[in-house]
Symmetry: C2
Subunit: 439 residues, 2 copies
C-alpha cells in the first residue's frame, strides 16, 4: 500500500512544461551553462505490449504527434545538447526517419538497435563514439570528458534544469541518475507466495531516468560487461558500479519523469500537453467598437474558466510575436458573414512558419447584428476554409452570436461563448473543425 506522506514534491502537473514545451516561447527559461559536449542516447526499441496497443508506445500519437517526437523535442530545445541518438528496432528505422523529417528534428541520428535494452543502449553509445572520432579527425582536437545522457523515449516531460543537474553530476562523479521516492511498500515474498517481510521504505529509492555518464565510464562499462548483463540486465548504473567502480550520484527528480507505460498513460500525457497549450489565447478585434466590447466581456468570462485572453487590435508590430508564440487565436468579426479576417490570419500563421509540433486553434467569433438573419452560407464556407487549414495542423472553428438586445441575454451569450471557446481550446478536436456553433 502507498504512503500518503511520502512525496514532498507537491503539485506536479502545473510544472509540466514550465516554459519550453508549453510553447509560450522557445526561449530558454534561464541560462544554464554547460561548457562540455553532451549527447543523448534514447533507446526506443520497446514493443509497447503493456499499453494494449498494436503500435509501440513511443510511436503512439499524442495530440497528433508521436510520443518519441515529444521526447526528442524536450532535448532539442536545450541549447547545450549537441546530438540525440535514437535507437529503434530495425523494422522501425524508416518510420523513425519519417518522424524526424516530418517534425523537423535537427539534432537526431537514428541507429538500429539490438535484441535487448542494454544491447540497444550499447549501440547508441558506440554510435556517439564514431561521431566523436569523425569530429576529432575534422577538428583535430580531443575533448574529454564528454557526458552521455541516457533517457527513455517514453518519458517525454524531462526538463532542462533537471538535465543540467544530471550532466553536471555525471561530469563530476562519472555517473548520475534520477531517483524517486518509492510509491509502494516493497515486500519480500516466500517461495509459496506469502509475505516474508517488508522493506523499510525510507532506506530505498526507485531508480528512474535520465541517467548521465562520462563517455569513458559508460563506454568502458559496456566493453567489460558480460553477455549475461547484455541479455538480462536493465540498470546502467549497476554496470558502471560493477565494471568501473563508479558509484553514481543520485538526484531526486520531479514526478513528471514518470514513464508512459499503459494506454491510460497516453491519455495522461495528452492531458498534460493539452493543458500546457490551453492556458491562453490571443483575441484580435480590429477597429470595431462592438468587437472590443465583446472581447472585454469575454476576457472576464474566460478568466473565470482559467483561460487568459490577450486582446489586441491586430498582429502588426510588436504583436507579431503572438504569431510565433501563441497556440490559440480568436478573431472577432462584426461585418456580415465575412471570413476575410480569418483567412488573413491563417495566411499570417502560415507565413510565421511554425514547426508543426502541436495543432494551433483558431476560433472565428461572428457577432451578428440583432436583426441579421443567420444564413447558412458562412457555414459552408467556414467548412471549406477549415478543411484546408486542418492539413496545415490548424484547427478552425466558428461561433456565432447576436449583438445585445437585452443585457441578461447578452450576458448569457457571452458566458456561453467563453464556455465553448475554453472547451474548443482544451479539447482540440479535429472532428469538429469547420463547425459554426451558436452562442
Amino acid at each position: 500500500m502507498e504512503d500518503e506522506r511520502s512525496d514532498p514534491d507537491g503539485p506536479s502537473h502545473p510544472r509540466a512544461f514550465p516554459g519550453g514545451e508549453a510553447g509560450r516561447s522557445e526561449r530558454q527559461p534561464c541560462e544554464l551553462r554547460v561548457d562540455f559536449p553532451v549527447s543523448v542516447v534514447l533507446p526506443a526499441g520497446g514493443t509497447g505490449e503493456r499499453t494494449g496497443l498494436s503500435t509501440p508506445k513511443q510511436f503512439c500519437s499524442v495530440l497528433g504527434r508521436p510520443l518519441i517526437s515529444v521526447t526528442v523535442q524536450a532535448f532539442e530545445r536545450v541549447s547545450w545538447i549537441q546530438s540525440v541518438v535514437v535507437v529503434v528496432a530495425k523494422e522501425n528505422m524508416e518510420l523513425m526517419m519519417d518522424i524526424v523529417q516530418r517534425f523537423q528534428h535537427r539534432k537526431v541520428r537514428v541507429v538500429a538497435g539490438g535484441s535487448t535494452r542494454h544491447r540497444s543502449i550499447c549501440k547508441g553509445v558506440l554510435a556517439l563514439g564514431e561521431e566523436e572520432e569523425e569530429e576529432e579527425e575534422e577538428e583535430g582536437e580531443e575533448e574529454r570528458p564528454k557526458v552521455v545522457i541516457i533517457h527513455d523515449a517514453v518519458r517525454p516531460f524531462v526538463e532542462e534544469d533537471f538535465l543540467y543537474k544530471i550532466a553536471m553530476a555525471a561530469k563530476e562523479h562519472g555517473a548520475s541518475g534520477a531517483i524517486r521516492p518509492l510509491v509502494s511498500t516493497v515486500i519480500a515474498t516466500t517461495s509459496e507466495g506469502f509475505l516474508d517481510h517488508s522493506l523499510e521504505r525510507g532506506r530505498y529509492r526507485a531508480s528512474e531516468m535520465p541517467q548521465g555518464f562520462t563517455y569513458s565510464v559508460i563506454h568502458r562499462a559496456y566493453q567489460r560487461c558480460t553477455e549475461s548483463d547484455l541479455e538480462f540486465g536493465t540498470e546502467c548504473l549497476h554496470l558502471a558500479l560493477q565494471y568501473c567502480g563508479t558509484n553514481a550520484k543520485l538526484i531526486e527528480g520531479p514526478p513528471t519523469l514518470w514513464k508512459v507505460t499503459y494506454k491510460r498513460d497516453l491519455a495522461a500525457a495528452e492531458s498534460i500537453i493539452k493543458e500546457s497549450l490551453s492556458g491562453s489565447a490571443c483575441v484580435i478585434v480590429g477597429g470595431s467598437a462592438g468587437a472590443v466590447t465583446l472581447a472585454d466581456a469575454l476576457q472576464e468570462a474566460a478568466a473565470a474558466l482559467d483561460l487568459e485572453l490577450d486582446v489586441v487590435s491586430d498582429l502588426t508590430g510588436d504583436n507579431g510575436r503572438y504569431l510565433s508564440e501563441e497556440f490559440n487565436f480568436i478573431q472577432v468579426s462584426v461585418t456580415g458573414s465575412c471570413l476575410s479576417e480569418v483567412k488573413s490570419l491563417l495566411v499570417d500563421l502560415e507565413a510565421a512558419n511554425r514547426a508543426p509540433l502541436h495543432p494551433l486553434v483558431v476560433i472565428w467569433i461572428h457577432l451578428c447584428r440583432p436583426d441579421e438573419v443567420m444564413t447558412p452560407e458562412p457555414a459552408a464556407s467556414i467548412m471549406d476554409v477549415a478543411s484546408a487549414a486542418k492539413l496545415r495542423n490548424i484547427l478552425l472553428y466558428g461561433i456565432r452570436l447576436h449583438q445585445p438586445e437585452d443585457p441578461e441575454r447578452w450576458e448569457r451569450s457571452v458566458s456561453r461563448v467563453a464556455e465553448i471557446t475554453a472547451a474548443l481550446v482544451r479539447e482540440r478536436s479535429p472532428a469538429l473543425v469547420g463547425q459554426l456553433l451558436q452562442a
Copy 2:
C-alpha cells in the same frame, strides 16, 4: 530504470470495466459465490496534495462524478459485499453524505477518520464491529469469520474477480494482499546520496491494495499495535504479521489497481471511463426508408472508428433494454425540423430512471431534403431542449445533413457524421450541448 519485460499482464486498458462499470449491464459477469459476510473499509481521508489541486483527489470530479463515488460503485455492484464504510476527515463528512445521496449509494456508511491513515482504517474496522454487534442482537446469531477488505478510495477500477480472490484467500489464511511487479529498480543509497547497491528485482514485489483480513485478525492487530504504529505505519499486512503472526497470502493484481495520485492520473481515469462508455450506441430510425439507409451507411463508417452501432426501429418491446443499458443514443429524423422524436426519447430515458452515474449522450441526426433550406429555428429549439436535458445529466447534440444528391458527396457527409458522432460520444463535452452541427 524500468524493465520492458517485467510485466506479464499485457493489455490493461481494454479490461478496465469488463462488464460492470462499463455499464453494458448491471448484471454480474459471472456467478462468484461467497458464503460468508464481507464488508469493506475505504479510507478516504487523504488531502490530495500530490495532485496539485485544492480538492482532495478522492473528491475530484471524473466526468462529472467524484472519484470516491466511482470506487464505491465498484464495490456496490458486487452482490456478496454487504457494506462499505467510507472513512473521511471530519470536515468532509457532510460532503461525503451529499455524494452518497446524490449518486444513490445504498451500502455506504460514512465514518469520521483519525489523524493518520492507520487511525482512520482502525476507526472503520471498529465501525464494522459495532454494525455486526447490532446485527447479532437482532438476528441472534454469531457469524465468523467475517472478512474485511481494505481498499483505497483512489483506486476506482477494482474488479469483482479480484475482490473474490482477495476475500477467499483472506478467509483461508487470515490475511491477503494485492501485489504488483516492481516497475523500477529499487536501490539503496549511501548517506551521501550515492548508489550503494540495487536490489535483485525478481525477489521483491510492490504491495498494493486491496487487502483482505478476517475480522478477528485485523481487529486484534489494531488492538495490539502501538501508538507509533498508528502514527507512522502504513502497511496493514505488516501489522497482521507482527501482532497476529499472520503471513498474508499475496496475489498478483492487474495494472488497473493503480492509484490515482497526480492530476495526470485523473485524466487517465477519465479516459478509462470515457472509453468504457463510448464503444457503442443505439440508433433509432423509426419507419422511414431514408433514415434506415443513412443508419446502415453510418453503421459501416462508425465501425471503422471503433464505434459499434445497433440499429433499431424503436425502443418498444425487447428493445426497451437499451434504455436501461446503453449510454449513447442516436435518433435519426427525416421530417422537417421536428424535434418531437428526440423529446420522446428523452422522456423514455427519464422514465427508465437510471442512476445518474455517468452522463448519457443523445445525438439527433436530422436528414434534410436536398431542397430544404436549413433554417435557424431548430438551432434555437434544440438548445432549449438540451439545456433542460443537461440538468438530468443527458448531453444532447444535433447533426444536420442533406439527403444524397450525388454519391460522392453523400459518402463524404456520412463519414463526417460518423466522425462527429464518435467525437461527441468520446468527448462528452458539456460545453457543446445544444449545438446543431453540419455534416
